[in-house]
Structure formats: C-alpha cells, structure tokens
C-alpha cells in the first residue's frame, strides 16, 4: 500500500549502537522519550521557578496538574498513599506528555508500542507486589480472600481474584497501547481516504470534504483520549497501590 497506516509506528535507528550483539541503537522512539522527559521537566521547572504567591498562567497550570493527581491519589489510596505521589505523578506526566507529543503530525508516539507500556505496567505491579509483601508480609495474601464470603464459594472467589490480579498488568499495558495505536491508525486511514478520493478529479475532491471534517473531529477526540488515558493509568495505579497499602477488604 502506498499510504500504509502502520508505517508511522516503525522504529528506525538514528545513532546505531551495537554492544556484544545487542542492538542498543538510539532510535526515534528513544528520541521522543527524551523529548517527553525534557518537555515534562521544562514545563514543571520553568513554570514553578518564579514561585509567585499569586500564580501566573503557567504556574497555575503546573499547580493544577499537581493538585489533580494528588487529589486522585488521596481519594483512592488515602493519606498514606501520598508516599507514592512522586511515582504516580511521574507516570502521569510521562504518559500525558508522550501522548501529546504524538498528536503533532509526523511525530512518533512513544506509548503506541506495547513494550513501553508493558514496562510501565510492570513497574506498577512489581511495586504493588514488593511493597505489599514488605509492608504486610503474608498478610498481603488477604487481598485474594474477601471477607464475608460463604465457605462454599470461597475457593472460586479466590481463583477469580488471583486471575483478576494477574490480568492487571496485561490490561493496564494493552489499554494504553491499543488506544494510542487504534487512534493513530484511524487518523491515517481517514487521511488515506482523502488522498484516494482527491485523485478522482473534481467529484472526488468535493467528496473528500467529508473525510477531512472527520479527521478534524477525530483529532479532537484523540486529544481527549490522550489526556483520558494518562488519567486512567494514574487512577488505576492509585487503586492498585491502595491494594498494597490496605490489602484486607
């Protein structure tokens, strides 16, 4: 296909590095991860360096982001969950900025690769497991045994709880990756409609107005999805951390 909707996700090395048979090249994915970290840091450092008592526009934006994530974490994991605030806030900012960089045409979307989101999800789940066992010892296993369940049902409930816990890293990583992937593919497919209709002459060009309007609407939707997925990742992280902090429910 001339305009392959998958081509935008291709990882290409920019600075080829190979150490001991391992391909450690600096790729376009690495470049945009660096851009994400630089963008998030620059936003937060530059906007809060003034430290005005009456915040300006940029400082308000940074403070609102901070307060938004802090409120999410406090609501779902309680006040002792605030010790994980740097972790959750970093995850939220990284995903949000990576998603928003990806919205610029010709830019690479870091979060549209499952390996990136899988690593983020594993970081969350391993934190939950290690912190849970470190804090509560074997009491952490109470997470899988809900109280007040009749004895006959208990074995089934335990199996279901274990399975649902095991599927968490999978669903956490696939949700983010598939949302970004599907959204960007949809944009490219509609853009392909415009190109192929435009080559049909005057009637085609008039007909191409419809997909152009659809692309505008989809781009707006994608901005919503980009922010929403970062929020969903942050809130699910908070809920899972709540399990590690208070396993008996």
């Amino acid at each position: 296909m001339a305009n392959d909707p998958i081509k935008q996700f291709r990882i290409e090395p920019i600075v080829p590095v190979e150490i001991g048979g391992l391909d450690l090249s600096f790729t376009n994915s690495s470049l945009f991860m660096v851009a994400t970290v630089v963008g998030a840091s620059a936003f937060l450092i530059a906007s809060t360096s003034g430290r005005g008592l009456v915040p300006g526009r940029w400082q308000s934006a940074a403070e609102m982001t901070y307060e938004f994530v802090a409120q999410t974490l406090r609501d779902s994991a309680g006040n002792d969950g605030m010790r994980f605030f740097p972790f959750v806030f970093s995850l939220f900012m990284f995903i949000l900025v990576a998603n928003l960089w990806g919205m610029i045409p010709y830019f690479f979307t870091v979060t549209s690769h499952i390996i990136i989101t899988a690593v983020l999800a594993m970081a969350v789940i391993l934190t939950v497991v290690f912190f849970g066992f470190w804090k509560h010892g074997l009491g952490f296993l109470k997470l899988f045994v809900p109280s007040g369940v009749p004895g006959v049902l208990l074995p089934f409930i335990v199996v279901i709880e274990v399975l649902s816990f095991l599927s968490r890293p999978i669903s956490l990583s696939i949700r983010l990756f598939a949302n970004m992937l599907a959204g960007h593919i949809t944009l490219k497919v509609f853009a392909g409609f415009v190109v192929s209709l435009g080559s049909l002459g005057v009637v085609g060009v008039i007909g191409a107005i419809l997909p152009v309007l659809a692309i505008i609407a989809l781009t707006a939707l994608e901005f919503l999805v980009a922010a929403l997925q970062a929020y969903v990742f942050a809130i699910l992280t908070s809920l899972y951390l709540n399990d590690a902090l208070h396993p008996s429910h």
Binding site: D75, S76, S171, R175, A178, A182, L228, Y231, L239
Partner: protein, 74 residues
C-alpha cells in the same frame, strides 16, 4: 477459502466485540448520568469510579480491536 480472505472475515467478526463493549459503556455512562441528574451534588465525587468502570469495560473492547488489528496487519 483463501487464508487472506479468512483473515478479513475474522477481523470483521472480532469487531463485534467492540460493539458489545459499546453497549456496556452506554450502560455505565447512562446510569451515571441518571444518577447524576437525581443527585447532582454527589455526581463529582463519583467521577473517579465512573472512569474506573469505563477503563475496565473499555479494555474488553480494546482486546477485540487488538485481535482485529493483528489479523489485518500481521
């Protein structure tokens, strides 16, 4: 039947799952809205739970979309 044709049919069938996930999402947002209109004061406090239910339900639709994409592009 050619394998290529079967792939496209399979991708189409996999997309039915997205429609059913859409039904579930409609239930979630519809019931949230019904509750929010009855008691608007309590609506904002439940927004986090709304998004949690949305995320967990949407995951099912996304899984079937993923199957469709794998069938189409690999």
């Amino acid at each position: 039947m050619e394998a290529e044709a079967a792939k496209f049919i399979g991708a189409g069938i996999a997309c039915i799952g997205m429609g059913t996930a859409g039904i579930g999402l409609g239930h979630i947002f519809g019931n949230y809205l019904a509750g929010a209109i009855r008691n608007p004061a309590a609506a904002d406090g439940q927004f986090g739970r709304l998004i949690f239910g949305f995320a967990v339900t949407e995951a099912m639709g996304i899984f079937s979309l993923l199957i469709a994409l794998i069938l189409l592009f690999t």
